[in-house]
Symmetry: C2
Subunit: 275 residues, 2 copies
């Protein structure tokens, strides 16, 4: 059998599966490897150095599995590690490999979702502190004002399957109140953490109807499709037998049990050894 050259999808844990689900729907023919760093999740509160070190290690694991292209399907990793990987790590490692994130694709189309030009961001503390969305959106839409709130309780609520229960309401309301207190003019909010789509219904319950909520999965999938059309040399390097493989740095049995919640169907994953 010829070796596979899949698209690698990386996340700190399960959240990236919400992005992978949409990528797979848009581009079902390619081969994919998903890697979740569940042994060290969550990344949201960790320092720049730690997030970069963990992310770059996992990206290299995906390279070693044959992926010429890796998507960081994690906002914290995109915010804290992508630039260093693209500018410093990759050139000295293998200049033919590519790593893409989720912040740029979201930022470059946000203009079409807002009339007031006031956009809200719900994200991890790490993503907020990095100011990545503020910086990226400013490049494409200098007229848009970005308002950010860190939501550190949302990932634990989702990872512990409490996001549909009453205990989640306090923390949904808390962060929404915090964001809307920053500006009454916000008319679009980005769920800038790939876990958050699982809280979408509760978030909508507490938001005024005129505010649009932007989920990243479709946007990132559309952007990847566009990237592959614009880069035929990368497209030619990818294989397309429709294979999917899933790896976790922690216990595959635990991973499989929870992955279905994010993906909508069951999977069987393997263990990736951090060494």
């Amino acid at each position: 059998m010829a070796p596979l050259h899949p698209i690698g999808i990386f996340d700190s844990g399960y959240g990236g599966l919400t992005v992978f689900k949409e990528i797979e729907r848009f581009l079902p023919g390619y081969d994919y490897i998903y890697l979740g760093d569940n042994a060290r999740v969550p990344y949201g509160n960790r320092s720049f150095e730690t997030v970069h070190e963990f992310t770059w290690q996992c990206v290299r694991m995906l390279f070693d599995m044959g992926c010429p292209l890796v998507i960081l399907a994690c906002n914290t990793a995109s915010a804290k590690a992508l630039r260093t990987i693209q500018q410093r790590d990759l050139p000295g490692y293998d200049a033919q490999k590519r790593v893409l994130g989720v912040i740029r694709p979201t930022s470059e189309i946000i203009g079409q979702y807002t009339e007031s030009r006031h956009v809200g961001i719900f994200a991890t503390r790490g993503t907020v502190v990095s100011e990545s969305y503020v910086i990226e959106i400013e490049k494409f839409f200098p007229d848009i004002k970005v308002h950010q709130v860190a939501c550190p309780m949302w990932v634990p609520l989702i990872e512990n399957n409490e996001h549909l229960n009453n205990g989640a309401d306090y923390f949904v309301k808390k962060y929404i109140d915090e964001l809307l207190s920053l500006s009454p003019d916000i008319d679009a909010i980005i769920l800038a953490c790939t876990h958050y789509p699982l809280l979408l219904d509760k978030i909508r319950d507490y938001l005024p109807n005129h505010i649009r909520v932007i989920v990243q999965g479709e946007i990132v999938a559309g952007s990847l499709q566009d990237y592959l059309q614009r880069h035929p040399e990368m497209n030619a390097r990818l294989t397309d037998t429709g294979t999917r493989k899933f790896y976790t740095t922690d216990d595959p049995v635990d991973f499989d049990a929870k992955a279905g919640l994010f993906l909508g169907h069951s999977i069987v994953s393997g263990h990736a050894d951090l060494g």
Copy 2:
């Protein structure tokens, strides 16, 4: 200056500081090094293999810093890694070093806290699944029945400084209801995670008055004092200049900002590189 031979205190993050605080109060003269693995916290939901790998790596870092004795001030690490470290790792590494946990000292004195002989355990999922408390308590008090409930939301609430706010009440009540539904006869409950003492006031609010709540810090400190009296050869190897050093595997600035909450006074920590 002669090299220090401190007592090493290890925890996955901040929680062990509640134990260190009591150890320091009981035994102020010794030298201590505290190491928190904040880059990879929390350990509570991770697999046996991962908790063992991370714990053993950090224990060796404390050995390398001169500690002949290391206390795992973390229930998950004590539950999932201590036995392997004591029985498999240490003999081949350095048979003169010692590693002690927090589960044995708590288990061997629990008999004096219960009349009904029904004891409850609040712990991380990892500690519960390991059955360590069930097994250890059975050794000392075969007549005691142990009832366990995993409280996976409590560490995130505490680490995000939400434990005194109203949003915590739902999850305090939830796990208490779950435990008391297992047996109406429980008259003593162990807070079997070193984070949980910060939730003590709220836990007491929702518990019937006749139920005793057992916090581990004092117990572990008393047990260490006893150990050093019974092991003069180890005691003779420890230095006693009263030095305290703190290290974290993540960002020291973040660590220092939160450590005060657990310790009751401010500290200045250094970075320990996971390599």
